[in-house]
């Protein structure tokens, strides 16, 4: 098992992701510079949070043109496993690897807090049984307001592609519990095929005893476990 973390100029959670996988889970993890053109032999590619290219133009809009993204696209086509966290989620949407877009929070301000999240039964590995019903993960973003057209939203719901939703302590999907205005309280999704995951919350900030929660560990493990269950032929 090997995890690769892609570093863009302006990535700033690359070290957090590195430590959460290397130390938190205990999988060999390596960094890949965005100017590289090859991924090599890896089992999971993580695109970390941060402000790639300063979030200029639109979040993730420039990073998708980095040399490494061609290899990431090919890897995705082969059924390779990809996780985008925060800015990584934005990049995956910009690259067309995940549907929808992330726009400015409806409060028009950056939000750093640890909301409750309702886990959805999305796949054999990413579900309440494996992760838990309600978890808490930190968020830190100014543009996490997930948007998609009605048809796309319908497809996400129908295919159970939604991974996480912002909720209150009891699991209710209220407007108050939604920190950024995302449609249907969506905090994370996967693609239809089930090999590409994107989420605004940070499992990479929830793996140590002193963190607000340690719920990042089951989330990261659930993504990693998908490796064993992806049934689509490569």
């Amino acid at each position: 098992m090997k995890v690769a973390v892609i570093q863009f100029p302006g990535s700033n959670c690359d070290q957090d992701v590195y430590h959460s996988f290397a130390r938190g889970i205990g999988v060999p993890t390596e960094m890949i510079w965005h100017k590289d053109e090859q991924l090599g032999e890896v089992d999971l590619v993580v695109i970390p949070g941060g402000f790639s290219y300063g979030d200029y133009l639109r979040c993730g809009a420039i990073a998708r043109f980095s040399p490494i993204m061609k290899a990431v696209g090919e890897y995705a086509d082969r059924g390779g496993l990809i996780l985008g966290i925060c800015n990584g989620f934005q990049i995956l949407c910009e690259a067309g690897l995940l549907p929808g877009a992330l726009i400015r929070n409806n409060c028009l301000e950056y939000r750093c807090m640890t909301p409750h999240l309702l886990i959805q039964d999305s796949t054999d590995t990413f579900n309440r049984n494996k992760i838990g019903q309600i978890i808490r993960l930190p968020i830190g973003h100014g543009e996490g307001n997930y948007r998609i057209d009605d048809e796309g939203l319908d497809r996400l719901e129908r295919n159970e592609q939604i991974l996480l939703r912002y909720c209150d302590e009891q699991g209710n999907l209220t407007e108050e519990a939604n920190p950024n205005g995302s449609v249907n309280n969506i905090a994370g999704i996967r693609n239809e095929r089930g090999n590409i995951f994107g989420m605004m919350p940070h499992p990479d900030r929830a793996f140590e005893r002193f963190h607000p929660s340690m719920d990042g560990l089951p989330v990261m493990k659930a993504v990693l476990a998908t490796k064993e269950t992806v049934t689509v032929p490569i």
Partner: protein, 776 residues
């Protein structure tokens, strides 16, 4: 004149002769200009006049404060201490460095960006953060935390709200993008800061002892590199701008405010750290902050006892036709000057190429002592480097206390009605809902306080706490900022002392042993003798506090001329202290966790009202003396608290400060997950004195400990053994009620704790979210 004049400047606009008017618009006094002529042995060129004006400005030269700053201890007195030894002293480099053990060290410093923030709050605050981050990574340190000390006018006008919102979003914009957690800091709202907000930004970085970098140019022939962003006309003469009072015109004059680009700075940070990791590649490095290229060239030359020569044509420029005056005085952000060994040019260029940044050789280290600047090959400035850094004017004067302050100190509350059962409710609500005391969550949820995955105590507690995972070694640091301007107004000496004592108390309450201190002295115009008096007295108070707790000052910043036409701000000597927590188990928050704890008060029931928020908010008074500080008692009590924390007997600890005892108790009930009730039982003896002093006085040396039932006897026994004054004050409950009785039988008041929490928790958001409703 013995020395020949320089050749004409390539830009004929600059070939004007220096008139007394020009000297004055550069903020230089006639005698200072005479000194410049003597140093050069000729008339300066306009470019040179500009260079002298920024280097001899208050911001760069500390001309009005330097002799006073000598009062500060700069080394640890205890030579046997395990940690805390000063490795780089205050004033030596861009930031001081202290040992935290196991070969690791921290560099930290606080700096002001008050004037730019008053004019352009977003950019002013953002570049303030950017500047202090550069000061830290210039030392070779990886920045790991940020905090701020902020002061604004009362949050009841559109303009103050605009400044507050702008400053907070500027800090958030820059720090979040850099990926450095912001642990909050302290914020006060008081009318004295109306029109002149204070924006003090702190950064702390971590490094190995062996990796400390110096800002010295040495080795004749070594190349001088310019790295980072290109130079534009922004921020021209910002250092001199910061050394004047704010007027109507300065509001309209936005050119001295720099524009920040945190993405560029993030690249610069990573590239610089990568470059520094190459053995022997960096001879010297200095940030281009205030006074930009001017300051970095003359300071590195002066520190290295060398000369330096640069050609401005080689400087990356983002505007065309910039003349030497503009290039030398520009304060464009995100730039550094690096001196490397001759022959290793390709190595530095390779690193910066990777990060798509400029790295251009602009000159070299020379024999002698001159800073020579050329443009198109023509010498446009030729100045002894040392004269700019060390020979600036120094002013000392005899300060005089402003009239009437002594009378204010002598004020007593004898004429004042005491609080009673009928006024207690409205009084408490006024305090708990004032933005100075209320929750600052509205601010810090806009700051990324969790990036780097090391934060363990989030903003809002007595101190912020981060874990540092250093190649297998773990260190836990705590940081807190403090300064009560009202105390300093009434008694600047004691106010300074309180800044230190209270900040130390905050750290102790978080389980940390204080290590070292950085200060930001925010005052008015030092040429006014009463302002100078408060500056001198506050410094004496700070110095006394530092010596008492053996806290060396490792640097900081002086910001003077914080005045508007309405007058000077309250003296505001902000301090920030960093402490170390020995073990994860000792990390202590201010909020209770169980609901069955007893709150034990150390230090006795408060008995002073001077300078309190209560007098301000309820009686509109800024009177009385600042509270008494008993340093020996505090030191002893602090040791006791640290001992109880390490013995595992303390669930939560909180310092009694702004708003007094009742506010402090309430704040301990507002847990992360739950809100607890509490019954306060005041001793019957309280009836003999004033109730307002007991509940709302801000006497020093008071700490509340939350202790579980099974440890209460042990804590009292330990207190009695250590001769620390301790009394049970309140017991927590799950019934949601917050009540006070005097003795066991005399009920005074009961509140619903959830209502109090909601008042405290939402007031700032409520005010800010109704921004467009005009004056309230």
């Amino acid at each position: 004149m013995a020395t020949a004049p320089l050749p004409p400047n390539p830009d004929s606009l600059l070939n004007t002769s220096i008139t007394s008017e020009l000297v004055s618009t550069h903020g230089l006094l006639p005698e200072e200009y005479e000194k410049i002529k003597k140093i050069l042995d000729r008339e300066p060129t306009l470019t040179e006049l500009g260079i002298f004006s920024v280097m001899w400005s208050e911001h760069c030269s500390y001309k009005n404060s330097r002799p006073l700053l000598k009062l500060f201890p700069v080394e640890k007195a205890d030579k046997n201490a395990d940690v805390g030894k000063v490795l780089v002293k205050a004033g030596e480099e861009n930031a001081g460095v202290i040992d935290i053990g196991d070969g690791w060290a921290i560099a930290f410093k606080i700096e002001s960006h008050n004037h730019p923030s008053a004019v352009e709050p977003f950019e002013g605050a953002a570049t303030g953060v950017g500047g202090i981050i550069r000061d830290i990574f210039t030392m070779g340190a990886r920045p790991v935390l940020l905090t701020n000390s902020l002061r604004f006018g009362e949050l009841n006008s559109k303009e103050v709200k605009r400044l507050f919102r702008g400053v907070v979003s500027g800090i958030s914009h820059y720090g979040n993008c850099m990926g450095i957690p912001n642990l909050g800091g302290d914020i006060y709202f008081d009318e004295c800061y109306e029109g002149n907000p204070l924006v003090n930004a702190l950064c702390l970085g971590v490094l190995k002892h062996d990796d400390i970098k110096r800002g010295a140019a040495s080795g004749v022939g070594n190349p001088v590199y310019y790295v980072g962003a290109a130079t534009g006309r922004d921020g021209l003469g910002g250092a001199s701008f910061a050394s004047k009072e704010l007027t109507e015109e300065s509001q309209a004059d936005k050119s001295p405010v720099q524009k920040g680009d945190p993405f560029m700075e993030k690249l610069l940070l990573e590239a610089c750290l990568e470059m520094m990791a190459v053995p022997g590649l960096v001879v010297g490095i200095q940030d281009m902050g205030a006074a930009g290229l001017t300051c970095s060239t003359c300071e590195t030359a002066s520190r290295g006892n060398a000369g330096i020569e640069i050609e401005l044509d080689l400087v990356p420029q983002r505007e065309s036709g910039m003349n030497s005056y503009e290039i030398m005085l520009s304060e464009s952000q995100e730039r550094m000057l690096v001196i490397i060994p001759k022959g290793r040019e390709s190595e530095i260029e390779e690193v910066f190429e990777k990060w798509d940044l400029h790295a251009v050789k602009v000159g070299e280290v020379t024999d002698g002592d001159r800073m020579v600047v050329k443009q198109h090959g023509v010498v446009v400035a030729d100045i002894p480097a040392l004269s700019l850094t060390d020979d600036g004017p120094v002013y000392t004067r005899e300060g005089i206390e402003a009239e009437g302050i002594e009378e204010l100190r002598e004020w007593t509350p004898s004429e004042l009605p005491d609080v009673d059962a009928s006024s207690l409710d409205s009084t408490f609500r006024k305090l708990i809902a004032h933005p100075t005391i209320a929750s600052k969550e509205w601010v810090w949820k806009q700051y990324d306080h969790m990036v780097m995955a090391g934060t363990s105590v989030e903003p809002g507690s007595d101190a912020g706490v981060v874990h540092l995972n250093l190649e297998g070694t773990e260190k836990i640091l705590a940081i807190s900022n403090d300064c009560n301007g009202r105390f300093c107004f009434l008694n600047p000496y004691r106010g300074g002392l309180i800044s230190v004592a209270e900040c130390v108390r905050n750290l102790v309450c978080s389980g940390a042993r204080p290590l070292s201190i950085t200060d930001n002295l925010n005052f008015g115009n030092p040429f006014k003798l009463d302002v100078y008096y408060t500056l001198a007295e506050s410094i004496k108070g700070l110095a006394e506090g530092c010596r008492a707790f053996d806290l060396p000052i490792v640097g900081g910043n002086v910001s003077l001329y914080n005045e508007t036409p309405e007058g000077a701000i309250d003296p505001t000597p902000v301090v920030s202290i960093v402490g170390i927590i020995e073990s994860e188990e000792h990390i202590t928050r201010q909020t209770c966790r169980r609901g069955d704890e007893t709150l034990i008060l150390l230090g006795g029931i408060p008995n002073e009202l001077g300078g309190s928020q209560y007098l301000k908010l309820v009686h509109d008074l800024k009177t009385g003396d600042a509270p008494v500080v008993d340093l020996e008692k505090e030191k002893h009590q602090n040791e006791f608290v640290l001992g109880e924390i390490s013995a595992g007997r303390v669930v939560a600890a909180h310092d009694v400060s702004d708003g007094g005892l009742l506010v402090a108790v309430a704040e301990m009930l507002f847990g992360e997950e739950e809100t607890y009730g509490a019954k306060i039982v005041l001793p019957s003896s309280v009836s003999e004195g004033r109730l307002d002093e007991a509940l709302f006085g801000e006497s020093q040396g008071r700490i509340l400990l939350a202790v579980e039932p099974e440890h209460i006897d042990e804590v009292f026994a330990a207190a009695s053994e250590a001769s620390v004054e301790a009394m049970p004050l309140a017991s927590l409950s799950q019934d949601g009620e917050f009540s006070i009785t005097i003795g066991k039988t005399n009920p005074l008041m009961t509140w619903k704790v959830s209502e109090i929490r909601s008042l405290w928790g939402t007031v700032i958001a409520d005010i800010m979210d109704h921004e467009n409703e005009g004056e309230i």
